[in-house]
């Protein structure tokens, strides 16, 4: 299961102005990866000490992240349209 790699945000105003943003999420994951590698064992130990199930919790968060792909939100109001799509 892969985390989302790209997201787009589209804003269209009724007066014709448009803005389209491409957010390359894969760059964020690349930057975050070293920090995650260092932090994950610490988080796992802290959760274990607290009596939680570290692997189940980390797996559940990963599943949420991996399932984000395909999310589509479109808000069409009186003055503008805002749409977001996660790839």
């Amino acid at each position: 299961m892969m985390p989302p790699l790209l997201a787009t945000i589209r804003i269209e105003r009724k007066d014709g102005r448009r803005l389209r943003l491409w957010l390359p999420l894969f760059l964020f994951w690349l930057i975050a990866l070293p920090f995650v590698v260092v932090a994950l064992p610490v988080v796992a130990v802290v959760l274990a000490v607290m009596g939680r199930r570290p692997f189940a919790i980390i797996a559940a968060y990963w599943a949420v992240l991996g399932a984000l792909s395909g999310t589509d939100i479109e808000l069409n109001g009186r003055r503008s349209l805002v749409a977001m799509h996660v790839y």
Partner: protein, 143 residues
């Protein structure tokens, strides 16, 4: 009749397993799943769509529209994550929901209940008439 099926029936006849266990074993042999999972597999919906159309509060002809598509996998993952929340956090969430007038118990939301809900959620449409006779229509369906 297959060899495995014969063995299960023989075990049942010998009293080594009871009828429920035999049924479960036979179902596993057939690759059968619970009815909700079966229904899901048949239609295989992937997304939950929420559409809302509401009268504009300024009274114009243009209606506000909200169109949200959420992967069902995300809902399942969310429910699984919610089940891992510590009991005290769930109690706080329940209390907060109760304060807002929502009679929902977080402890009752389980993955199997969600599958059943999805299997039965073909198309739900809700019409709301609010203050100043403003109308809103909400449609929820799986696709």
């Amino acid at each position: 009749m297959s060899e495995n099926r014969k063995q299960i029936l023989a075990m049942l006849a010998e009293g080594r397993i009871n009828a429920d266990e035999a049924e479960r074993l036979l179902a596993a042999l057939d690759g059968s799943a619970p009815p909700a999972a079966k229904a899901l597999a048949a239609g295989a919906p992937k997304y939950l769509r929420v559409l809302m159309e509401a009268d504009d509060k300024h009274g114009g002809e243009v209606r506000s529209k909200i169109n949200i598509r959420v992967p069902l996998q995300l809902l399942r993952a969310g429910v699984k994550l919610a089940s891992l929340l510590p009991p005290e956090a769930r109690e706080q969430m329940n209390a907060a929901l109760h304060d807002k007038g929502v009679g929902l118990d977080i402890n009752q939301i389980k993955p199997e209940n969600l599958d059943e809900l999805i299997a039965n959620l073909k198309d739900v449409s809700i019409d709301i008439t609010g203050k100043k006779n403003r109308h809103a229509t909400i449609r929820v369906f799986c696709e």
